[in-house]
């Protein structure tokens, strides 16, 4: 079953096709994580704002996302947004972003609350308004602490993007399944696509580690 020479042959042969899928996967991951980070930050700020209605909005959003399967969310976004004429790529991107956003919101909330409350007081005592203190003093420290769990969430987001294959987006995983069923060689293609994901995750981990080192320099 694991004929390494055969797998290598298929790997080389299918390389151009997978590169196309890889490109879509990367685009999907980066876009959904960037938007998800923005959403996460907004909802984290809602949660710590102490304003009841904002708390409620954030709690409901997080409960809905965490309480339902991602595949259901992707289909809802796909069918919902298709009516507005939005492409499969963007509906998958929004779906994944909303999903990542809920988890990232919890990460940010935790890291913001872990910053010593004397930091906010010091800023306020100098006459800095709440928003300015948050932006200049609290968030830079919180981001640094959020980086390890964020990196983890990004890896999950990268792997979760494979679910976009269900809405006919030809990202990495869907290339593997279509090629697999076309050639009746599913196992080989699954191993290959697994390798692609593995390499992506390893590269990404390396990147996050480098960033962490760079950010912790000086302190």
């Amino acid at each position: 079953m694991f004929d390494i020479a055969h797998i290598l042959d298929v790997l080389i042969e299918s390389y151009p096709l997978f590169m196309k899928g890889l490109w879509i996967t990367l685009k999907l991951t980066v876009v959904s994580i960037l938007i998800g980070t923005g959403i996460g930050l907004i909802f984290a700020l809602f949660k710590i704002s102490g304003i009841k209605i904002l708390n409620w909005i954030a709690n409901i959003y997080i409960a809905l996302i965490r309480g339902t399967p991602l595949i259901v969310q992707i289909f809802i976004f796909y069918f919902g947004l298709a009516e507005l004429g939005i492409s499969a790529f963007w509906s998958a991107a929004f779906g994944l972003a909303m999903h990542n956003g809920a988890y990232i919101a919890e990460i940010f909330r935790g890291s913001i609350q872990s910053v010593d409350k004397g930091q906010m007081e010091a800023g306020r005592s100098l006459g800095m308004p709440y928003g300015l203190t948050m932006r200049r003093i609290i968030l830079p420290q919180a981001f640094k602490r959020a980086l390890p769990p964020l990196g983890n969430q990004f890896i999950i987001g990268l792997k979760d993007s494979s679910l976009a294959s269900f809405i006919a987006l030809s990202e990495l995983f869907s290339i593997a399944t279509t090629q697999g069923s076309r050639t009746f060689d599913e196992m080989t293609y699954l191993i290959i696509v697994g390798l692609y994901y593995l390499i992506l995750v390893l590269l990404f981990t390396l990147l996050v580690n480098m960033l962490e080192k760079k950010l912790s320099a000086g302190e």
Binding site: Q119, S125, M128, L132
Partner: protein, 244 residues
């Protein structure tokens, strides 16, 4: 007569059911150094934090430089610019260098020109004896150095009043002196100061008035010699004999 900088009338503050301040009255004139002493839990830190509205009073009046400050209608950020604060745990910004710590508020709040702010910050760091530490991050400083940076940072906003909340309580004993010396210098320059401290030597030497707090009230007040050498209240005597 000296200008009145702070006037507090019937100040009340509770945390839940706990009444921390019960009808406190206090006034501080320009260039005066008022030292608040008392056991922990007596309300002295809360009183200090009420003066720059880190805690919001439940009742009474706070008048800063002749103007009653209502936390609901006043822009507290403007009031706080006039009232600098130094904390027990320094609360320096760890992701900024010493120089950036001192420049942060003048640049971001007062929109001072960066070069101007840097010049002022370096003068202040020189004044607290830390001009050689300008580009260092706070983590590399000793506790005494951190507290002196915190003093410089508060002074950078050119406040009229400085509040010190147990500024030496978190320091190793051998580092207390350098911070007290900086504060003494500031007092001699005529800064209006309210200081919560357990350093009775500082109180005796520098204070114009010593205020003994007990159970959320001002129990006794007077000049250092009145209060330390000739306390009238039994509570004050007990407290002083327990710490001296």
């Amino acid at each position: 007569m000296k200008r009145e900088m702070i006037r507090i009338e019937n100040l009340k503050k509770s945390f839940g059911d706990l009444e921390v301040l019960k009808e406190v009255n206090l006034n501080v004139n320009e260039s005066d150094v008022v030292v608040l002493i008392g056991a922990s839990g007596s309300g002295k830190s809360t009183l200090l934090r009420c003066i720059n509205f880190l805690e919001i009073k439940n009742g009474g009046k706070i008048v800063i430089e002749g103007e009653e400050v209502n936390p609901k209608s006043h822009n507290l950020n403007e009031v706080r610019q006039k009232v600098g604060m130094v904390f027990q745990h320094f609360n320096l910004f760890p992701h900024k260098t010493v120089l950036e710590n001192v420049m942060e508020a003048p640049v971001m709040v007062k929109n001072e020109d960066k070069k101007e702010a840097e010049k002022d910050a370096r003068i202040l760091l020189d004044k607290v004896g830390l001009s050689d530490k300008a580009d260092v991050y706070p983590a590399k400083l000793s506790g005494g150095q951190k507290q002196r940076v915190a003093i410089a940072r508060a002074l950078a906003m050119k406040p009229d009043i400085m509040l010190f909340d147990e500024p030496t309580s978190a320091l190793d004993p051998e580092l207390v002196g350098e911070v007290l010396a900086t504060m003494k210098e500031l007092a001699q320059e005529g800064m209006t100061m309210v200081v919560v401290t357990h350093e009775m030597g500082f109180a005796k030497e520098v204070a114009d008035e010593v205020v003994y707090m007990h159970d959320g009230q001002i129990w006794e007040r007077g000049t250092p010699s009145e209060l330390f050498d000739n306390p009238k209240e039994d509570r004050t005597k007990d407290f002083l004999s327990s710490i001296l």
